[in-house]
Amino acid sequence: MSENVIEFINICKSFKRKDGSLQHVLNNISFTIPAGKTTVIAGGSGQGKSVTLKLVLRLLDADSGSILVDGEDITAIRGRKLNQLRTRFGVLFQSSALFDSLTVFENVAMPLRERTKKSEKEIHSQVIEMLARFDLAGHELKYPAQLSGGMKKRVGLARAMMLTPSIMLFDEPTTGLDPVMTGEIYHLFARTQRQYGFTSVIVSHDIPKVFNLADNVILLNHGNVDVFDSPEAIQWSKKTEIQEFVKTTMGEIYQSRNVETETL
């Protein structure tokens, strides 16, 4: 595996507005995501954070530029190769994206049923083990509508982990959760990453909390990108808009970072 697991090279992405003009969301951006680390992609609403994740997963296609995953250009792959790429990723969606008509057990079992040739007996034991690991034992037969927000996230994470991905992508993972649950979910992420050793990419607007997990930060700002080796490095930026960002979102991070990382 290369040192940088994901590389964006001169990526442009725009969307067509209603009046026919183009809205440039990503403007010739380049950055790298190092292997085995936690990278946080931050930025205001509509700055292209989720678009960036969708480009990596090829749910959207870039207008120009290249995206390398483990050194391989993924911007034009299709069919079986695209499926092979996607099985290397685990994704936790903003809405958890659990299948409403399936039970917790069926949701978590789905990647194994669809992507492996394992017997039902093997699948059953693996799913039960995974659910127990995420404190979901006894909830196997419930439907997503019967779960709390935090439980849905845990089911989503358990499902994403079933094929033991090497890269985990988290899209606004704590949206809609209260502060206590948000803390618990980030605690779970840190614990899971320690156990499995995957590369994490977290898109979040929950800045002070998520920065406690970050090894490095990518800040998206009006189609441009700034990369920082650590969350603390952001405060040294000379750019006015980043200083503004620091002032509005990161007021208490430095006081809390050391205390909270010890507990994670």
């Binding site: 996607r86 990723f89 969606f93 994206a97 299948f99 409403d100 789905m110």
Partner: protein, 262 residues
């Protein structure tokens, strides 16, 4: 875009783009039949939903249509002393036209709207994205069972409509108006040919394909369709559009097929 010509060109390009998505969608759904694992249990579930779930509405529509045809036919034919042709008139109307068309319209309203809403909700709640991220082909997983179930169920529902509709005509014409039962069935036997039945069968397959294609496609592409809006509103708009478009398509194709195959 204030220039009307530019607006027209933009709309034309959008319509072509939409047709492109829908054509690709159709072929991907068909290709899904040959991909593994095949979801046989889901196919049975969809047959139950589309087929057996629509039986009641199709039964009552057929009974009422047949009885109205029986009464109307009797009053019209009786003026010329030709009420012996009632069986022929009712059965030909139902087998060649009303059976396939009304069955498809009923299924579009009941099951088509539900399929469209289900897929639209799955799209806006990122469930379809989640499938793709797990490297699961959403066409094979979600669409192909619905396509096959509709292609199996709608022709069978049409057959049910034909039988119940002809029985409804018998109830009104024979039991209520006193037409001879022998004349009713003999009229039907002598006038309905294999070609007429074949025409009804072909229509029912084509309408089944149209209904499931349009209804599933509108739900699947809910975020790409211009003017759909966002969130729950987009799903409700696309569900309405799916039923309206599929109903209009059934009526237009009914004329085209009749003109070509009659």
């Amino acid at each position: 875009m204030s220039n009307p010509l530019a607006r027209l060109g933009d709309t034309a390009l959008y319509v072509l783009e939409d047709l492109g998505w829908m054509t690709n969608f159709f072929f991907q759904a068909i290709l899904g039949i040959f991909k593994r694992p095949f979801r046989f249990l889901e196919l049975l579930r969809q047959i139950k939903f589309i087929g057996s779930g629509s039986m009641v509405v199709v039964f009552f529509t057929a009974l009422s249509t047949g009885m109205v045809l029986g009464l109307q036919g009797y009053y019209s034919l009786n003026r010329f002393g030709a009420d012996g042709f009632l069986g022929s008139a009712v059965s030909l109307s139902i087998i060649m036209e009303l059976g396939p068309v009304l069955t498809a319209l009923m299924v579009a309203g009941r099951a088509g709207s539900a399929m469209s809403a289900e897929l639209g909700i799955m799209r806006i709640s990122e469930q379809i994205d989640a499938l793709q991220c797990m490297a699961v082909d959403p066409y094979r997983y979600l669409i192909t069972p619905k396509f096959l179930a509709a292609l199996i169920s709608i022709p069978l529902l049409t057959a049910l409509f034909d039988v119940v509709g002809i029985f409804g005509g018998y109830l009104a014409g024979v039991s209520m108006m006193g037409v001879s039962p022998g004349a009713y069935f003999e009229g039907m036997r002598s006038s309905v040919t294999n070609h007429d039945i074949w025409l009804g069968v072909v229509k029912s397959f084509v309408f089944a394909g149209l209904v499931v294609w349009i209804c599933c496609g509108r739900g699947f592409f809910v975020q790409q369709i211009r003017g759909a809006g966002f969130g729950a509103e987009s799903v409700s708009r696309m569900t309405t559009q799916a039923v309206v478009l599929s109903s209009i398509s059934v009526l237009v194709f009914d004329y085209l097929l009749t003109a070509v195959l009659l």
